[in-house]
């Protein structure tokens, strides 16, 4: 919702402006570990599709490269009155050496996969990564979503004739504040919160900048999100997008929920305030995903 309001500003500048690609000398910073840990769960499957991929950040004009870790582990605990009442863990292994992609270790002595039934309990999931001598940690909880009622193609346009309008209809879960992340494919995402449609059947349009050939099948999905992940994706979408001209908001380094705990001993060092430059990038989240398809005609 909030993002949609911003549209008014974006395209006024588009109208008069002209754009050209230029050469810019960019300042260089050391590479950082990037954790791609968004786990999208289909609850009809028996196991959670755990996959964590690790890369190293790069200069803006270069490509990120995969990186291998010494170890990657996910633990989960259910805590009641400061006492752990249930727990479990999953040790991850690299799919092939150097790929940087980690899945539950198939060669472990016991089954390291996380059954989907685990998600029914109120677990806190913790991801540990030991990488080049540093220890990284992230914590999350499972967030559910609602199904998409329908997706259909519309005939409207927003900025030009070449666009494709997709009309998405879903019903918000009543009585709780919900945050949703929509994935429209092609790196197109939308975050929305239910502040203005609490518990309602809600319909909105999404516009692709391109037209598609007849018969193209578009996959659209909606994921659950907590407020922190919503904020994270909101910023990511904004920072990676095309915000123009004098109305652009200040850019920032979008920090996720993974942090460097190597020097935190909880005795002398209780926080990261003295080492603000030490941090990895990326996010660890465990969310339900509901899918829908639309065929372009």
């Amino acid at each position: 919702m909030k993002r949609l309001l911003v549209f008014s500003l974006i395209f006024t500048s588009l109208l008069l402006s002209c754009e050209d690609v230029i050469d810019v000398d960019l300042p260089d910073q050391d590479t950082r570990l990037v954790v791609n840990g968004l786990i999208r769960v289909d609850e009809t499957e028996p196991y959670v599709p755990v996959e964590i991929s690790l890369t190293l950040s790069s200069n803006f004009f270069e490509e990120n490269v995969p990186t291998s870790a010494e170890s990657v582990l996910i633990t989960y605990e259910e805590i009641e009155d400061n006492v752990v009442i249930n727990q479990g863990s999953s040790t991850l292994a690299e799919t092939s050496p150097g790929s940087g992609v980690y899945i539950p270790d198939p060669n472990f002595s016991s089954d390291q996969r996380i059954p989907t039934t685990t998600l029914d309990r109120d677990y806190v999931y913790t991801l540990f990564i030991r990488h080049q001598g540093r220890l990284y940690l992230a914590q999350t909880k499972y967030v559910r979503t609602v199904p998409i009622n329908s997706v259909r193609q519309g005939t409207g346009t927003l900025f030009g004739d070449n666009e494709t309008e997709i009309i998405v209809n879903f019903t918000d879960q009543p009585n709780v504040d919900n945050f949703y992340l929509f994935d429209f494919g092609f790196g197109e995402y939308l975050v929305t919160e239910d502040e203005f449609y609490q518990g309602q059947e809600f319909e909105f349009s999404f516009f692709y900048e391109d037209s598609f050939e007849t018969g193209t099948v578009l996959d659209i999905s909606v994921m659950g999100s907590d407020q922190t992940f919503y904020n994270y994706m909101d910023q990511l979408i904004e920072q990676s997008g095309d915000i123009q001209g004098p109305f652009q908001t200040p850019v920032t380094t979008v920090r996720g929920n993974v942090f460097d705990v190597t020097d935190l001993d909880n005795i002398d060092v209780l926080d990261n305030v003295d080492q603000p430059e030490v941090f990895p990038l990326g996010y660890f989240a465990l969310v339900q995903e509901e899918k829908a398809q639309v065929t372009i005609n």
């Binding site: 004009f61 927003l158 004739d161 449609y197 909105f204 652009q248 850019v251 990038l281």
Partner: protein, 799 residues
């Protein structure tokens, strides 16, 4: 209370001065333009033999008290024929002067040096006045004369570039400018998101910008005061003027209702629809219009009534999907009353609002937001003697803030109607301002403003744990919105917060000799309203928010020192100033703050500080065929928001890094070097040429220090805030004005203005974006520039 005690001596001093006046007589009256009865602001009435004098006020009134005797009075006003009159001060009397505009004589004009001498000796500094004629001469984009764009050519004034609204004074933000149109506050000064300003130059009489040494009769904004007065209307004969340009056309009519007694003025301006949308063949609209109206009625010699109004709207629509309407409305009733020939008063009743409306059909809602205020203002000017004038008054403004209301636009929309919590506040101020000449060499202007701000009860106010709406994660080092632990509703009459501030102002001028003076000033101003905007220039969608339980008022301290000199008997003038500004409680936004439709804005705001300092230089050539100026500003503007004082929670210290790790960072309006040149050359009766050149250090910005991929998104990431700069900005504009010879023989007076904006078509970067090219998959830096070379023609007429 000790701060009040500090000012007591001033008041005692003041009282003792009042006691001395005796054996003196007063002449008073108004100065008007002879052909229209339009009152003239800032006319100098000088007594060369005493080296003293006064100037007319905003309503053309003056009052001069001198010891008994006979004196020669010189009445001078730039562009008008001088009046010299010998007056005997042996009784109090009324004298009105009528001045005639100078015919377009091109010979070297003889200047009365007193004009400049007086400016040299007046303590008022850091002020720039622009003649409306100069504003009309300055070449601008698409030929549409523009007050705010003209101000940008002055030292210490800049903006974020083409298509950016507002302006920045001495490194301040756009919301720190008090813009007054006939004493009413204008909240949004731009049309079409910043391409044009909302003021129709045809309807404007006088423009004055205070950048510092702001007299105590003004308050509420910390950076500057832009005071604009509309014309009153011609009470002698009916006149019309107008212009036809490539973007907009103007028409203004004025005339008497009762001859010499009352007059009206009505001016309209509209831009042409569809102009900016040649690229799209869909059904789009983009236009603006504004209407200036004024009525004045002269009840008798001591009473005048004025009714003025302004109404402006921008309309912007894209097919049926999107419609956007916004603008200001202002209505103002004023009553000038003379209690005596020494005591002038003005009572103003002002209503002003800003409305923003948006309809997004593809999401299914309408949205509106705005600010509305009622202002009661009573100002008195007491002309006690030629060396002593006291201005005092009170001012009360009641505000209603509508941060936004969302309503479904059709029965099948899933949107629920919701009103974001409206906010209410009252701002009261009382001031006294003294203009005091201590000796022929030393004069002072000192004053004190007492401001009191009340934030009234509202429907819902969030309550937070430890009263802290912004929490800090000490591991991830990010500020986050705190979750409210409840809400309280309070009655409108309740006070959620109140603030009282004393704002001393002092300025002094020491005249070294009739050509040179040094001036110094100190100004303290409190600003209680904040524009929620984290873009580099404000947008009409930004909402104003009052200080209150979580947001503190901004407090400015500004120090300025200047050296002023005239050369060659006033042909040239030189003004140099240095300034230092310090602002407490400047609001800053946490990383990723979402300001739009945010009902709990306190969750994303922290109070920080700002400072700016610099050097300004202005050399003007005031007379002759060639006139113009060179302005140079060297300055720095920074802000920072350190972590809040650590609290102790469960024995652990909640230390914070602050925004940008507590480092000072350049504000978006930090322009190290800013050079502006303006020149006007009268070749002959037929042709006049104007040019301006602007050079500015590029605007602070951020370049990515790296990038990462997350779920198919390419995300650049950044170092500390605003460490890089866009390429330097520069531009040359020229214009030629053709006045046809036929004008001499007819009533219709016409002129053609041919202009070229950005002559060498410099592609100045409005922004540089870093993105992944969707087609090639390659990352690239994309420069967005707004205008290349833009030629334009405008036809102006009057009859």
């Amino acid at each position: 209370m000790h701060s009040i005690n500090r000012f007591l001596p001033i008041f005692f001093f003041l009282i003792s001065v009042l006691g001395i006046a005796q054996n003196r007589y007063t002449i008073s009256g108004t100065v008007t333009e002879a052909s229209s009865n339009e009152t003239l602001i800032g006319v100098t009435i000088a007594i060369p033999s005493l080296r003293t004098g006064v100037t007319t006020n905003e309503y053309g009134f003056y009052s001069l008290t001198l010891p008994q005797g006979t004196y020669e009075l010189q009445i001078t006003y730039l562009g008008f024929e001088d009046i010299v009159e010998t007056v005997t001060f042996d009784q109090n009397r009324k004298m009105n002067f009528r001045m005639t505009e100078k015919a377009q004589i091109l010979e070297e004009v003889v200047v009365t040096e007193n004009v400049e001498k007086l400016n040299i000796s007046k303590p008022q500094m850091s002020v720039n006045t622009l003649a409306v004629q100069t504003i009309k001469n300055i070449p601008v984009v698409l030929g549409e004369a523009d007050i705010i764009k003209s101000l940008l050519l002055l030292p210490g004034v800049s903006n974020a570039g083409e298509g950016a609204s507002g302006f920045n004074v001495r490194g301040g933000a756009a919301d720190q400018n008090l813009i007054l149109l006939d004493e009413a506050t204008i909240f949004n000064s731009s049309h079409l998101f910043g391409f044009f300003s909302v003021f129709n130059p045809d309807a404007i009489k006088d423009v004055k910008l205070f950048k510092g040494a702001i007299p105590s009769r003004y308050g509420g904004r910390v950076s500057s005061v832009l005071e604009i007065f509309q014309k009153e209307g011609n009470s002698k004969e009916f006149k019309m003027n107008g212009g036809i340009g490539v973007v907009a056309s103007r028409l203004l009519a004025e005339g008497p209702i009762v001859k010499d007694k009352s007059a009206f003025l009505i001016g309209g301006r509209a831009s042409y629809a569809h102009l900016f949308l040649p690229l799209f063949d869909v059904d789009n609209t983009a236009y603006f219009y504004d209407l200036n109206t004024k009525l004045n009625y002269r009840l008798n010699a001591n009473n005048n009534l004025f009714l003025s109004g302004y109404f402006g709207r921008d309309v912007f629509a894209i097919s049926d999907n999107f419609e956007n309407i916004y603008g200001n409305s202002v209505l103002n009733l004023r009553w000038n009353h003379l209690f005596s020939d020494k005591l002038f008063s003005n009572l103003s009743l002002i209503y002003s609002d800003f409305y923003y409306g948006l309809e997004l059909d593809f999401v299914g809602f309408k949205w509106n937001s705005g600010i509305r205020n009622f202002n009661l203002k009573y100002d008195l000017k007491h002309y006690l003697s030629d060396t002593f004038q006291v201005n005092y008054g009170i001012n009360n403004i009641y505000y209603t803030f509508n941060p936004g209301k969302i309503v479904p636009n059709s029965p099948d929309s899933g949107i629920l109607e919701e009103q974001l919590t409206k906010k209410y506040a009252d701002e009261f101020a009382a001031y006294v301002d003294v203009e005091h000449s201590l000796s022929a060499a030393l004069s002072l202007q000192y004053g004190l403003r007492l401001s009191h701000f009340i934030r009234f009860g509202q429907d819902e106010l969030n309550v937070y744990e430890n009263d802290n709406p912004v929490i800090f994660d000490p591991f991830l080092l990010v500020y986050q919105e705190a979750t409210p632990i409840g809400t309280v509703s309070s009655k409108r009459g309740e006070q959620l917060a109140s603030f009282t501030n004393l704002e001393p102002r002092i300025a002094l001028a020491y005249t070294l000799n009739p050509e040179q003076s040094v001036k110094a000033s100190y100004t303290r101003i409190t600003q209680y309203l904040h524009l929620l905007s984290n873009t580099s220039s404000p947008t009409p969608l930004d909402v104003w928010t009052p200080s209150g339980p979580f947001v503190k008022p901004q407090i400015l301290d500004q120090y300025a020192l200047g050296y002023f000199r005239t050369l060659s008997e006033g042909e040239f003038s030189l003004e140099t100033e240095v300034f230092y500004k310090d602002i407490q409680n400047r609001i800053d936004y946490i990383d990723g703050a979402n300001l739009i439709a945010n009902n709990a804005i306190e969750q994303v705001i922290l109070n920080g500080q700002a400072r700016a300092y610099g050097l300004e230089l202005l050399v003007r050539k005031n007379e002759g065929r060639f006139k113009g100026w060179v302005a140079y500003t060297l300055s720095r503007s920074e802000q920072r928001t350190p972590g809040r004082t650590p609290s102790f929670d469960n024995g652990r210290s909640n230390r914070e890094t602050g925004i940008n790790f507590s480092n000072w960072y350049s504000t978006p309006y930090d322009k190290t070097h800013d050079v502006s040149l303006y020149g006007s050359y009268d070749l002959n009766k037929k042709w006049r040429f104007n040019t301006n050149f602007v050079y500015q250090t590029g605007q602070p910005t951020n370049y990515p220090v790296g990038q990462f991929q997350f779920e198919g998104l390419t995300v650049p990431f950044y170092g500390l805030r605003n460490e890089e700069r866009l390429p330097d900005y520069h531009r040359l504009d020229i214009s030629a004005t053709l006045t046809p010879k036929k004008n001499d023989k007819r009533k219709l007076q016409a002129e053609w203005v041919f202009s070229i904006y950005n002559v060498y078509s410099r592609m100045n970067a409005a922004s540089i974006n870093f993105r992944r090219n969707q087609d090639t998959g390659v990352n690239e830096a994309v420069r967005t520039s707004i205008f290349g070379i833009v030629p334009a023609v405008t036809y102006n007429f009057k009859f």
